[in-house]
C-alpha cells in the first residue's frame, strides 16, 4: 500500500489543476564572442539554445546536466539576472522577459536564488544580521524593531540561533553559511526559488541537513523550486519532475521516478549509468555505458542532434536532422529520433 506521503506526491504530479507558476518557451541565451581591437563579434556561445518547460505551484523541478550544459545560465535567465536572447518567460501567466526598472525590482521580491558557494555569495564584511536584513531594507519592507524581529525569525526558520546575527560569515561552517544564504533568499517571502547547486560545495554529512531544510521550508511556506544540480541521486530525492540538459538543450523531461526507472534518451541512460552507487555488490554487477570523447563546444554545436557525436546509437539521420521534442508518454518528453523504438 502506498504511504500517505507517496500518495500526496503522486497527486502533485498528476494534478493538472494546480496552476502553472513559471513557464518558459523556446528560451535562449547566447553570449557573444568578441575578438580584435574593435571588439567585433565573431561568434556566440549558445549556452541555452531553445528550452521549454513549466513548473507548477509548490512543485520542484530538477535540472540536471554536466558542467557547461547551460543549466545555471537557464536559472539565471529565468530570474532575469541575464537578459534572454530569445523566447518567452511567463511568471503567473505574465511575460517577464522584457520587464525593466521598477517592475523588475518588484518581480525580484517573488523570485530568489540560492547560490552554490556560500563562501563567495556572502559579503565577508557584513554581519549575518545585515546580510539577511539587506533585501528587507532595500525593498523597504521593514525597519527598526520590526526589521530586527524579522531577521531573528528568518534565522530561526533556517535553524540558526538569532544570537548569531552580530557575527561574520567566516565564523560559520559551510553548512551554516548555506543556511544564511537561504535565510536571505527567504527574506522577501518569495514564491519561487532557483537553487543553483546548493549542496555541491558542502561535505556529505552536511548535504542532507541542507536538503531536508529546503524540503521543510517548501512544505511550510508553499515554495516552488527549480533545483539545479549534477547530483542525480539527490535530484531524484528532492524533485517531482526532472529535466536533463545537454549542450544548451533539454533532451528529456519526466516525473522523477519514471525518469530514473525508465530513461528514454541515450544521454540520460549514460549519465545514470556513470553515476557511482554506494553499494559494492551493485557496482560490481553494473554494466556501464562509457561515453567516448568530450562535450563539444557550445560555440560550435554539432548539427542535428547535439548528442550525436558521442551517442552510442547514433545514425546518419541524427547528425542530419534535429530530433523533435516529443511527448512519448503523458508528462514524459524526449528529444531523440529513436527513443521508445527498442
Amino acid at each position: 500500500m502506498p504511504t500517505e506521503s507517496a500518495m500526496a506526491k503522486a497527486c502533485v504530479q498528476s494534478d493538472d489543476a494546480t496552476p502553472v507558476l513559471l513557464e518558459v518557451e523556446n528560451l535562449a541565451k547566447h553570449f557573444p564572442i568578441m575578438r580584435g581591437v574593435f571588439r567585433r563579434q565573431v561568434g556566440s556561445v549558445r549556452a541555452v539554445d531553445g528550452v521549454d518547460f513549466h513548473i507548477r505551484e509548490r512543485e520542484t523541478l530538477g535540472l540536471v546536466g554536466e558542467s557547461g550544459c547551460g543549466k545555471s545560465t537557464a536559472g539565471r535567465v529565468i530570474l532575469r539576472l541575464y537578459d534572454p536572447t530569445a523566447g518567452r518567460i511567463a511568471f503567473r501567466g505574465e511575460d517577464i522577459g522584457g520587464v525593466r526598472g521598477e517592475s523588475l525590482r518588484r518581480l525580484r521580491q517573488s523570485m530568489q536564488m540560492v547560490f552554490q558557494d556560500p563562501q563567495d555569495s556572502l559579503n565577508p564584511r557584513m554581519t549575518v544580521g545585515s546580510i539577511v536584513a539587506e533585501p528587507l531594507v532595500e525593498h523597504g519592507v521593514a525597519k527598526g524593531r520590526a526589521l530586527d524581529d524579522r531577521v531573528d525569525e528568518l534565522l530561526n526558520a533556517v535553524g540558526l540561533s538569532a544570537r548569531f546575527a552580530n557575527r561574520y560569515p567566516h565564523e560559520f561552517s559551510g553548512g551554516q553559511r548555506q543556511r544564511i544564504g537561504i535565510a536571505r533568499a527567504l527574506a522577501l517571502e518569495p514564491e519561487f526559488i532557483v537553487c543553483d547547486e546548493p549542496i555541491a560545495a558542502l561535505d556529505v554529512s552536511i548535504q542532507a541537513q541542507v536538503v531536508n531544510l529546503l524540503q521543510d521550508l517548501q512544505e511550510r511556506l508553499g515554495l516552488t523550486y527549480l533545483f539545479i544540480s549534477h547530483d542525480l541521486a539527490m535530484v531524484r530525492h528532492i524533485a517531482d519532475r526532472v529535466a536533463v540538459m545537454y549542450l544548451g538543450k533539454i533532451v528529456e523531461l519526466a516525473p522523477s521516478d519514471e525518469l530514473y526507472r525508465e530513461p528514454l534518451h541515450p544521454y540520460t541512460r549514460a549519465l545514470m549509468s556513470a553515476a557511482p552507487v554506494h553499494d559494492p555488490e551493485l557496482e560490481a554487477a553494473r554494466e556501464r555505458i562509457i561515453l567516448t570523447g568530450d562535450v563539444p563546444s557550445p560555440a560550435d554545436p554539432p548539427p542535428g542532434c547535439r548528442f550525436s557525436t558521442r551517442c552510442p546509437m547514433a545514425t546518419p539521420e541524427c547528425s542530419a536532422r534535429e530530433p523533435e521534442w516529443r511527448e512519448l508518454r503523458p508528462g514524459h518528453r524526449v528529444a531523440c529520433h529513436y527513443a521508445g523504438d527498442a
Binding site: S5, A208, L232, H278, D294
Partner: protein, 342 residues
C-alpha cells in the same frame, strides 16, 4: 582478474605506515590535523580512503611524501616504509628520487598541477630522463606509449601540445600518465575525479581499473565519494577528525558498518532505488566537523554521535579488530545496541 583480491593486507605490505602525527601552526592556534594514522597497503591492492574535508586524509599522504611546507606544518612522528625503506627518515634529495619513480601521485585539479608553459611531452619525459636515465628519443617514445595507455587519441602528435589544449578529463589522463611514467609500486590519487563530470569520471575510473589489472600497482584512492570507492577499492579506511575510525574490506564496510559515523554517512545518501522519492526526509548527522584546535582527548565524533555516552567524552577510542579484517575505533557496539563490555 589477475590480481589477488584479499580482504586482509598481503603478508608483506608494499607500504607500511605507522603513527603519523601532523600539526599546523596557525594564527588561531595549533591544528591537530593528523593524530596517529597507520595503515598497510598490500601488493596490487586498492585502498580507498574516505573522509570529509578536514578529516586529514590528504595531509596524511602529503606528510609521508614530505610534500608539506614546514613551517607551518610540523610532522611530530611517523614512519612510512616503502618496501622496507622509511620514506619519512630520508633526506630531501633521496626522497625526491622516490617521488615520481617508486611512488606516483595524482592531485585533484590537473590544471594547477600541470605546468602551463611546458608541453605535455616535456612534462612526461622529464621524470623518465631524470629517474630512469632515458635519452630524449627513448623517453619520447615511452611518453607516447603512456598517453596511449591512458586512452588519449593520436598520442605522438599530442606530445607537443600544452596543457590548456586538453579538456579537463584529458588533462587528468595526462596526470595519470605522468604518475605512471616510471612504473611506480604505489600510486596515490587524491580526489582525482572530484572536479570532473560524472561521464568523464566514469571514463577515468575505467582507465584506472584497467591499468591496475594490467600493471598490478598498489593504489591509494582518496575521496569523499562513497560511490566511487564502492566500485574501485578492495579495502576502505574511513577517517574523521584526523583519525582512522573504521577500516574493513569494501563489502563488509558497506554491508555492516560498525562506526556510528560510517553508518551515518551511508544513511544520509539518498538510496539508489529510493522509490518514495521526495516524500521522505534524508537521515542526517547533526552538527559539524571538529575544529581540531585541541589535542584529541576524547572521541572526535562524540559531539555528533547519537550513541555517545560518558566514556566517549572522556577517552579517545583506539582502533581495534572487531570481526575478521574489520577494525573500528568506538566504545559502542552498534550490533548489540549497547556500550562495549571492555
Amino acid at each position: 582478474m589477475g590480481v589477488p583480491l584479499s580482504a586482509a593486507p598481503a603478508a608483506e605490505a608494499v607500504l607500511a605506515v605507522e603513527d603519523i602525527q601532523t600539526r599546523f601552526h596557525t594564527q588561531e592556534g595549533v591544528v591537530h590535523a593528523v593524530n596517529g594514522i597507520g595503515f598497510e597497503l598490500g601488493e596490487g591492492e586498492v585502498l580507498g580512503v574516505v573522509g570529509e574535508s578536514g578529516s586529514g586524509k590528504s595531509v596524511t599522504m602529503l606528510s609521508l611524501l614530505g610534500l608539506l611546507p614546514t613551517p607551518p606544518a610540523e610532522i611530530v612522528s611517523g614512519s612510512a616504509r616503502l618496501e622496507g625503506e622509511d620514506l619519512m627518515a630520508l633526506d630531501a634529495d633521496r626522497l625526491r628520487k622516490v617521488r615520481g619513480a617508486r611512488v606516483g601521485f595524482i592531485f585533484q585539479d590537473p590544471m594547477t598541477s600541470l605546468n602551463p608553459v611546458l608541453t605535455v611531452g616535456y612534462q612526461l619525459t622529464e621524470p623518465l630522463r631524470l629517474h630512469l636515465g632515458m635519452d630524449k628519443a627513448a623517453a619520447r617514445e615511452r611518453a607516447a606509449q603512456l598517453l596511449d595507455l591512458v586512452g588519449i587519441p593520436e598520442p605522438t602528435s599530442r606530445l607537443s601540445d600544452f596543457p590548456h589544449q586538453f579538456s579537463g578529463g584529458m588533462r587528468q589522463r595526462v596526470m595519470i600518465a605522468i604518475a605512471l611514467a616510471c612504473s611506480p609500486k604505489v600510486l596515490i590519487a587524491d580526489e582525482p575525479t572530484t572536479a570532473l563530470d560524472v561521464t568523464i569520471q566514469a571514463q577515468i575510473l575505467d582507465v584506472v581499473k584497467r591499468l591496475r589489472r594490467e600493471l598490478g600497482m598498489s593504489i591509494i584512492w582518496i575521496t569523499h565519494d562513497l560511490g566511487v570507492v564502492a566500485g574501485l577499492a578492495d579495502r576502505v579506511m574511513v577517517m574523521y577528525g584526523g583519525q582512522v575510525v573504521e577500516r574493513a574490506d569494501v563489502k563488509s564496510l558497506y554491508a555492516r558498518p560498525k562506526h556510528p559515523y560510517t553508518r551515518g554517512l551511508l544513511r544520509t545518501l539518498p538510496s539508489p532505488d529510493d522509490e518514495d522519492g521526495s516524500s521522505g526526509r534524508l537521515a542526517s548527522i547533526p552538527g559539524h566537523p571538529p575544529s581540531l584546535l585541541e589535542a584529541p582527548a576524547s572521541c572526535p565524533f562524540a559531539p555528533r554521535c547519537e550513541h555517545a555516552f560518558d566514556r566517549c567524552h572522556r577517552e579517545n577510542p583506539m582502533l581495534e579488530t572487531r570481526g575478521e579484517g574489520h577494525e573500528v575505533a568506538c566504545f559502542f557496539d552498534v550490533d548489540r545496541g549497547a556500550p562495549r563490555a571492555d
